[in-house]
């Protein structure tokens, strides 16, 4: 039997775990992203090459992770969590700082942002804790989950990186949400809702006055009235809104966006790349992007809920919802709905580390699709 005969390749393919529809959708989105990046980076071929390299790295990571059965992740989740917390503490102690924030670990050959891998580790750990017993979870695992989420959020928030810490916190809470927990402090639904709302509000008040840094407050304030400070932080939002608005329905044309091509739009190949799409391709381009995102989210949800164990369901659903959250926060931010928190647009923004994290989570979703859960774990 030849090693590379058609039959043999089919045989290998059988063992190769990958969801073809999801893979094709991601490739389509990445291709679209590269085209947009070419324009956004003012036709920089070297930027394009680097991003293609990032993509190959990230896709490899996705395909490798897709081969790891979910139960293995579940089994190793406590170690992953401990390893992650250890890295975050290392960052606090020895991390290299840049722009007033200490977010990176310098490994000598590369700089590494531990908060990135926490985006994957946190949902794995929480899903693992909550799927231990039947759903809805009992108070102890709930308490354990909330405690670990808070620890990680605080560790990242002190770097300081409020945006990332809130997003990671959200990904943990999504697992709690899908697990079906219900915070029932009072019997009456409405009173219960009122109490929880007021708790969140007072939390926000404390955070605003005691936890937020001046620059974070300023970002939130300029969100409310960007034109008040046109050359300060509000300037970016204003220019971004001008870029989006001036695109109209059909856009100014590929590579024709004056806002981005003439540098009025800040960070136009990274965080603000959505504005480039909106300016150059108009509402049509935006709708095309939304359609691709929608199909990916739909496919990922389908995969999650067709899986056979609770761990996979919780993990897949929360990773999908987190993916949507990134999209929402980025577009909300560049269109002036949310404060500027520095979240890249998934699959489109230039950059390697967030891409690898993103592809890793889709690797996990693919692995959920293709791996049969061992019988002893099925419920």
């Amino acid at each position: 039997m030849k090693l590379f005969s058609i039959a043999q390749l089919r045989h290998y393919w059988h063992y190769f775990k990958m969801d073809t529809p999801l893979f094709l959708l991601i490739m389509a989105l990445s291709g679209f992203g590269l085209v947009v990046l070419y324009s956004a980076s003012s036709e920089s071929i070297s930027t394009l090459y680097k991003q293609v390299f990032h993509f190959s790295l990230a896709i490899s990571a996705m395909l490798v992770i897709a081969q790891i059965p979910p139960y293995l992740l579940r089994r190793f989740s406590p170690y992953l969590m401990l390893f992650g917390i250890f890295l975050l503490i290392l960052v606090l102690l020895f991390g290299s700082s840049s722009g007033g924030a200490q977010r990176w670990l310098d490994l000598g050959f590369m700089r590494f942002q531990p908060s990135e891998i926490m985006k994957v580790i946190v949902p794995i750990a929480i899903a693992s804790i909550l799927s231990e017993k039947t759903l809805p979870p009992k108070p102890l695992p709930i308490f354990l989950s909330i405690a670990s989420i808070i620890v990680i959020v605080l560790l990242i928030a002190t770097q300081p990186d409020l945006g990332t810490s809130l997003l990671i916190g959200a990904s943990g809470f999504y697992v709690l949400f899908f697990s079906g927990i219900r915070i029932q402090i009072l019997k009456n639904h409405w009173l219960n809702f009122g109490l929880i709302s007021s708790l969140i509000a007072s939390g926000g008040y404390i955070a605003w006055n005691y936890l937020l840094m001046a620059y974070q407050k300023k970002r939130i304030m300029t969100l409310i009235d960007p034109s008040s400070d046109p050359l300060g932080s509000g300037y970016h939002i204003l220019q971004s809104k001008i870029a989006i608005g001036s695109g109209g329905i059909f856009g100014k044309g590929f590579e024709q966006g004056s806002q981005s091509q003439l540098d009025f739009l800040p960070e136009h190949s990274t965080d603000f790349i959505f504005s480039v799409i909106a300016e150059e391709l108009g509402l049509m381009g935006v709708l095309f992007l939304f359609t691709l995102y929608g199909l990916i989210i739909f496919r990922a949800f389908v995969i999650s809920f067709q899986s056979e164990d609770n761990f996979s369901k919780l993990l897949g659903a929360s990773l999908t919802l987190t993916f949507f959250t990134y999209i929402f926060v980025n577009i909300g931010m560049v269109s002036g709905l949310l404060p500027v928190v520095g979240v890249p647009l998934p699959f489109i923004s230039y950059g390697g580390s967030s891409l690898i994290t993103l592809m890793s989570s889709f690797g996990i979703i693919m692995s959920i699709r293709k791996h049969k859960t061992p019988r002893y774990l099925q419920r």
Binding site: T134, L135, P136, Y174, F177, F178, S179, G180, Q239, K241, I242, A243, I244, G245, S246, G247, G248, I249, S258, Q259, L262, D263, F264, A278, E279, G282, L283, V286, F290, G294, I297, F301, F305, N310, K313, A317, L321, F324, F328, I331, G332, S335, G336, L337, R379
Partner: protein, 616 residues
């Protein structure tokens, strides 16, 4: 069994949460789409304009100012490519600190900063507003090497230059920086990029022709303000070149003759009113004003007792003295008060009946029996005292009014003064006093209240030469748009003084001829080697009223109180071409101090024209 029911329960729970999550996603997606719809569709026009405004700036293209030439095509005013230092407020972070740092480098001083702030109000924040104009090559080179100031640039522009310096300054005038008053005067859009406007003279009079039409260009810039692309929306229309009727050679001759004196020489073409010479001295350098006059220069002009900035040809009002006698004689002849044969006997003075005061002839010996021709030739005062007395002030006024004394000639440069032609009602209004008979006598010899400008004298002399055709004098002869042919500016207006008897005019002209050619003529020294025929009239204007019995001795008087020397004339007598008026302040007698100057200026004209005729 328990496990199965648990699984069912769990699936129910999970799918309800999934539904919730999907609703959550849909709502937030809807929120995003609403936002983007709002930006891209509802407010599309607003943001489109904002994006356009970000990158595009409309800037004026300053038109090239028209040049000024004399009648022979000699350049009197032109433009020279020079460099200026500009500051664009939008690009410079803090204007005050930028200006202070610039001051430290030594390229500008406190005055430039003050001027910049004053200037700024006229411009938009994206305009490159000049800080300092007319930079030297060394300054440009030095600055370009060390420039680190954002928004500060060196830019080329056309600077106005007057290649002949002070020559003809009173006719041409000068341009200078626009001030508040100018801003109100001119169209804001058309002057949006203009630095200089005409302040006096031709430069001011024909500002609208010289200026041209400001164009518009659109520049596309990136965020740092660098110009990526320039598109001309409307090209600038350059100003028109002006050809004046002035003859630069005659101008220079006149300036040379009046050098060190206060005075004026005006020459007009008797056939069409064109002004060939318009010189007032002292002259001053118009180039001083173009880029803002320095304190030293300004003070030197302001403190000079000679008032260099006074254009004596149109603003200097002098008693016309005896130069008015031909016109007075014409008034008397045409009104029938006297005829060409009327004689009087001059004993050296004239007395009003019943009045002791004697009105002396300039020659106290008296000229004996004189008719009107003799009276003009010898400038006999007693004849004109008698004539004026017979006419009375109102008839005298009416006769002289035909020559437009006391009114502006309407020459095409600003600032003209009309002078005074007195009458009973004039005195009532202005002095609130009745008219005295003695004042009529003074008016008859061009003294007393009567004043006129040198230009008026030249123009009225031309009218006598023309036998009554009185032209409105003009300086602008032709205009030319760059690249097009020269076109004639409008012809000057003229009007005919009504003639009763042409003999009267011929008699007066003959009297003026005798001034030069008669052995008794007051300007008889002029006829030596004349290549053309010349008629004229001398005048000596009293500045200081002497008592009746006092004798005028120049040396006894302060310079400023001495007589003004005057001469008017025209040539050739048969077919007059040009008329001249010369006034030299406090120089003494017209026959010795003014008439020779007139001869030399006329010589320039006729030498040229005779030569032309010979070569043709």
């Amino acid at each position: 069994m328990e496990s199965i029911s648990n699984t069912r329960l769990e699936n129910k729970l999970l799918s309800s949460r999934l539904k919730l999550a999907l609703i959550f996603i849909l709502l937030l997606t809807l929120l995003l789409l609403t936002r983007i719809y709002n930006l891209q569709v509802v407010n599309y026009e607003y943001y489109q304009e904002e994006s356009f405004g970000n990158q595009m700036r409309t800037l004026p293209i300053t038109p090239n100012r028209g040049k000024i030439f004399d009648r022979n095509g000699q350049v009197l005013a032109s433009n020279k490519l020079t460099y200026q230092l500009t500051l664009t407020p939008e690009k410079a972070g803090n204007i005050s600190t930028t200006l202070l740092s610039l001051k430290k480098t030594g390229i500008i001083n406190e005055d430039d900063i003050k001027l910049y702030h004053k200037n700024r109000k006229r411009f938009q924040k994206f305009h490159n507003i000049p800080i300092k104009t007319n930079l030297s090559d060394a300054q440009v080179a030095e600055f370009l090497v060390s420039n680190q100031f954002p928004g500060v640039d060196i830019e080329p522009y056309f600077n106005r230059v007057y290649p002949h310096g002070a020559s003809s300054v009173h006719a041409i005038g000068y341009v200078s920086r626009m001030n508040k008053k100018d801003t109100a005067l001119y169209d804001k859009d058309n002057y949006s990029g203009t630095l200089f406007v005409g302040k006096v003279g031709i430069e001011k009079q024909y500002e609208s022709l010289l200026h041209g039409q400001t164009g518009l260009k659109q520049i596309e810039r990136n965020v740092s303000g660098r110009v990526v692309d320039t598109q001309i929306i409307k090209p600038a229309m350059p100003g028109q070149d002006l050809y004046l009727s002035l003859d630069l050679d005659m101008q220079k001759k006149a300036e040379e003759l009046l050098k060190g004196k206060r005075g004026a020489i005006v020459v007009v073409d008797t056939r069409n009113g064109e002004v060939l010479t318009l010189v007032s001295t002292p002259i001053y350098n118009p180039n001083w004003f173009v880029n803002g006059i320095s304190h030293a220069n300004y003070n030197s002009l302001q403190s000079s007792k000679d008032i260099p900035q006074l254009n004596r040809t149109i603003q200097g009002l002098y008693p016309p003295a005896s130069t008015i006698k031909p016109m007075v004689a014409l008034a008397g002849l045409e009104q029938g008060t006297i005829d060409i044969k009327t004689t009087i006997f001059d004993r050296g003075y004239f007395q009003l009946p019943g009045v002791n005061r004697k009105f002396h002839n300039w020659d106290r010996n008296g000229h004996g029996s004189v008719n009107v021709e003799d009276a003009i030739a010898q400038s006999n005062d007693v004849f004109f005292y008698s004539l004026a007395n017979k006419m009375g002030i109102d008839n005298l006024h009416d006769g002289l009014k035909l020559f437009r004394f006391g009114q502006k000639t309407g020459i095409d440069i600003p600032g003209e003064q009309g002078g005074i032609l007195p009458s009973k009602s004039w005195k009532k209004i202005n002095k609130n006093e009745p008219w005295y008979k003695g004042e009529t006598l003074n008016a008859g010899i061009g003294q007393g209240f009567m004043t006129s400008s040198p230009l008026q004298l030249a123009v009225t002399t031309a009218a006598v030469a023309n036998k009554g055709q009185l032209f409105q004098p003009t300086l602008l002869k032709n205009t030319q748009l760059p690249g097009q042919s020269i076109t004639e500016f409008k012809k000057s207006d003229s009007r005919q003084i009504p003639i009763n008897n042409i003999k009267n005019w011929e008699t007066v002209i003959d009297g003026m001829r005798q001034v030069v050619y008669s052995p008794k003529g007051t300007a008889r020294r002029l006829n030596n080697k004349l290549t053309y025929t010349l008629a004229g009239k001398t005048g000596t204007a009293q500045v200081f009223g002497l008592d009746a019995e006092e004798v005028y001795i120049a040396e006894n008087l302060e310079e400023k109180l001495r007589d003004h020397a005057l001469f008017t004339g025209f040539a050739p007598i048969e077919n007059p071409e040009i008329a001249i008026a010369v006034v030299v302040e406090n120089a003494g007698s017209g026959s010795s101090k003014a008439a020779p100057l007139a001869r030399q200026v006329l010589d320039v004209y006729f030498n040229k024209h005779l030569n032309n005729e010979l070569t043709q």
